[in-house]
Structures are given as structure tokens and as C-alpha cells.
């Protein structure tokens, strides 16, 4: 995906989310939580779009799931832990969880565990830019801009300007099996 397609994809996601939020009566209680790192920037972009569509600015927060990973003992060194920043009450909210790529589902599981430690949301929706398949847990995205068939051993990278990329891009890297 190139920059134009990513921009259109974000607008498309926002429209779907706004429609769903209105239908569910959740337009006023919507809050956005980006999963570090890529999801944080997409959350900010979605928030800008949703503010226009819903006429109100949803609160936005950040989750870092490092302390909730299920694979720490298998790693050589403890994973890097970044800040989690949720400054609004989660209780009763419709939370839009945002990540760049959905793969095994383990990150989302960890994010859900962490999120409920802040309170009990009314519901949680998951929005991703790319669903690449390869799930290891029964987790599905409510909103996905693109669904790609990507082999094991290949990597889907979402490169965003906020992370220092010259232009936005989604690229598949790594050897093909």
C-alpha cells in the first residue's frame, strides 16, 4: 500500500467505525486506544477523522503491552517497556482498540488484559490497518482496511511518517518459503 492508499484506508475505517458507533448508540461514549507503537499513530489519525464524522473529539490513550506479554521467559532479555497512558475512565466506554497489523492475536490478547485493569469497558472493538492472517488465538478484527495473505517467515511492515518514514507505506519483507 502506498501513502494515498493508506490515507484512503484510514478514512474508510473511520467511516465504518462512525457508522457502527452511531448504530450502536456509542458515538458519545467512544474512546480510542492505540497499541504501541504503530497503533498509536493510527489511533491519532483515526481520531482526527472521527472527530469530523461524529462532531465530537473522542478521548485517546496509549497501551504498551510489554508487561502483559505471554512470551517473556522465552526471550533472551526482558522486552522494552514503553509508557501506557490512559487518562480517561474506561468504565462504560466503547473502546476502539487500534493496531497497525493483526497477526497471531497475542498482542491483542495482552492489550485486552491490560485494558480491563483500567476498568470495565462497555465493549471493545478492534481496528487494524492490515490483517495478515496467521492467528494463534481466536481473535478477529472488527475493522480491517486490508486483508493480506502473507506466508510465515514474511513480515508486514507499516512505515509511517510519525515513526520517521519518508512516506507512508505498507510493505511485505522477508524471504518467501
Amino acid at each position: 500500500m502506498d501513502a494515498t492508499q493508506i490515507a484512503e484506508a484510514v478514512r474508510g475505517l473511520a467511516r465504518q467505525i462512525a457508522d457502527r458507533a452511531r448504530a450502536a448508540g456509542a458515538a458519545d461514549s467512544l474512546a480510542i486506544v492505540g497499541i504501541r507503537r504503530g497503533g498509536v499513530h493510527l489511533a491519532a489519525r483515526l481520531r482526527a477523522e472521527l472527530t469530523g464524522l461524529l462532531g465530537a473529539e473522542p478521548p485517546v490513550g496509549t497501551l504498551d503491552i510489554a508487561l502483559y506479554r505471554d512470551d517473556t521467559p522465552a526471550r533472551g532479555a526482558a522486552p522494552v517497556v514503553g509508557p501506557t497512558d490512559i487518562r480517561f475512565p474506561v468504565q462504560g466506554k466503547t473502546i476502539l482498540l487500534v493496531d497497525d497489523v493483526l497477526y497471531t492475536g497475542r498482542t491483542v490478547r495482552a492489550a485486552l488484559d491490560e485494558l480491563v485493569d483500567f476498568g470495565r469497558p462497555r465493549r471493545v472493538w478492534l481496528a487494524v490497518l492490515v490483517d495478515r492472517g496467521g492467528r494463534e488465538l481466536p481473535i478477529a478484527a472488527d475493522f480491517a482496511a486490508a486483508r493480506l495473505e502473507v506466508a510465515d517467515g514474511q513480515d508486514v511492515q507499516v512505515r509511517l511518517r510519525e515513526e520517521g518514514a519518508a512516506v507512508d507505506a505498507v510493505v511485505v519483507t522477508g524471504r518467501k518459503p
Partner: protein, 313 residues
Amino acid sequence: MIGRQRHCIALEDFSRDELELVLDLAVSMKEVLRRPIKKVPSLRGKSVVNLFFEASTRTRSSFEIAAKILSADALNWTSASSSVSKGETLIDTARNLEAMRPDVLVIRHSASGAPRLVADHVGCAVVSAGDGAHEHPSQGLLDCFTVRERLGTLEGKTLAIVGDVSHSRVARSDLHGFTKLGARVRMCGPPTMMPAGLAQLGCTVHTDLREAVEGADAVVMLRIQHERIGDPLIPNTREYSRLWGLNSKKAAEWLKPGALVLHPGPINRGVELSPEVADGPFSVILDQVQNGVAVRMAILYLLAGGDPAEARA
């Protein structure tokens, strides 16, 4: 692992990057302390043994809370009710505890070097919670964290450490931590409480309190140890307080606005600190206590969060 460190025994061993690794992680750990549910599962299934050969409430509780917030099992072990009273050696005690498969041993001991000795004989990670007059690395790290949190950086700042420097493990850890993070350090105390060769550790040495604290960005007031009063180091607490204690008048006249006053606790009110200063606007003493939990969470997470065997490979 904390960078190259398998243990946390002395800040003298730490590089600047390793210090900053702990301090940066402690920022995220402190956020956990503000949550409605102060518990994360990252060390689930791990165990931390607090092995205290000296009395301590604050440090032991801080390590225990840190371990429990990370979901580790914490076991407190004190020498008074143990086989040490039956003549067991330190190494035998540590080896017996290690046979119960803890992931981290946190040790406080009155003998300098005891945690290092234990680390040489066990396979798990060892954290010093203070050894003799050597070091108290987690206190040093939490002091670095507290100053950095309030002042943004230690780089280029002037920090004073005041009191019984020669017997203080906190002073030694603070000195290593502060200087490695780029601060200028002034050490101050009665001449009888200043060890020889101190200036070779990269600090300036003072016996006049005003000279040490005037213009400083932060002042660490060490605990005067009542148990030593009566030995020939100082005549009495009253004279100590007059010459090296910080009261509200001296603080108002000598400290610059925004300066921080730290104290490792427990405070001897009216000796090294007057109650007005201990509870006043300069004081960050309660911040230190909270930051201690965050810093100890970071230490435990880094040392127990990975597989040491794999990390060494």
C-alpha cells in the same frame, strides 16, 4: 539482565546506559502504580526471596510490593528466626534458599561484600538491598530517578550529599549514580565522617554545610546514626544538628528556589532535618518512597524477566 549486569550489587559496576535503562523503565513502572488495579502479570510464576540479615521495614516492604505488583511470589526471610542463629554460614543459607528455585535473591547484610559473595555461589540473580558501608544500589537508583523526575536531567546539575559519608552506603551509591549521570557532586560532613580519598571518586569535599548546599540543585541529607553517637566521631547530636543539620532558616537562606531535599529515611527529626524542612516545599522524601517501588519493579523485571541462560548464550 540490566545491560551486561546479571546482578544489581553496586552502582560502581553500572555504565551510564545501564543506569538509564533502569530509570527509563521505572517511568513506565511508576505509571502502573497509578492504575486502579496495581498489578501486571509480567513476573507471574517467578519468585523473589527477600533475605534480610539486618532490620529493615522500608526497603524490604518496597521490594516486596514491587515483586507483588509484577505478580512474582515474594518470600520474606529474616535471620532472627533462621538457621543463621544455629550457626549456618551465609553461603549455606543462600545455597539452601537457591535450592528452592527463586529467580531473584534480594540481600541485606551488615557486611560489605556479602551480596557479591552470595552472587558468586548461586545461579539466580542477586540484588543488594544494602551491604555494610559499601552500597545501597536501589536507593541510589531511586535518588537518581527522583532528581531526574523533578529536574529533568542530572547532567550539569550540582548535588550535595551531607552527613556521615564514611558509614553511608547510600552516599556511595548516590555518588556513583549522580556522577555517572553527569552531575557535579559535593560531599559534606564532619571531618571525622569523611573517608580519606573521597575526592578521587570525582566529587568535591566540604566540611562547611553552607558551602556545600548553596546553589545546589538537590541536597541528600543522610541519616545520622544514633547507634554511633557516643563514639568519638561527633561530640553529640546537638552540635551535629547546629553545624550539619538543615533547618528552615538555613534552607530559606542557603538553598536556591526549586532545590530538592532528599533523605533516605528514617529521618531523625530535629537532627539532620528539622520537621519544617522534612515536610516543607523543598522536600521530595515521600516521592522517594514511591519512586523506590517503581525503581525496584524495574530492577526485578530486568533481572527476572528474561532467561539468564539464554541471555548468556
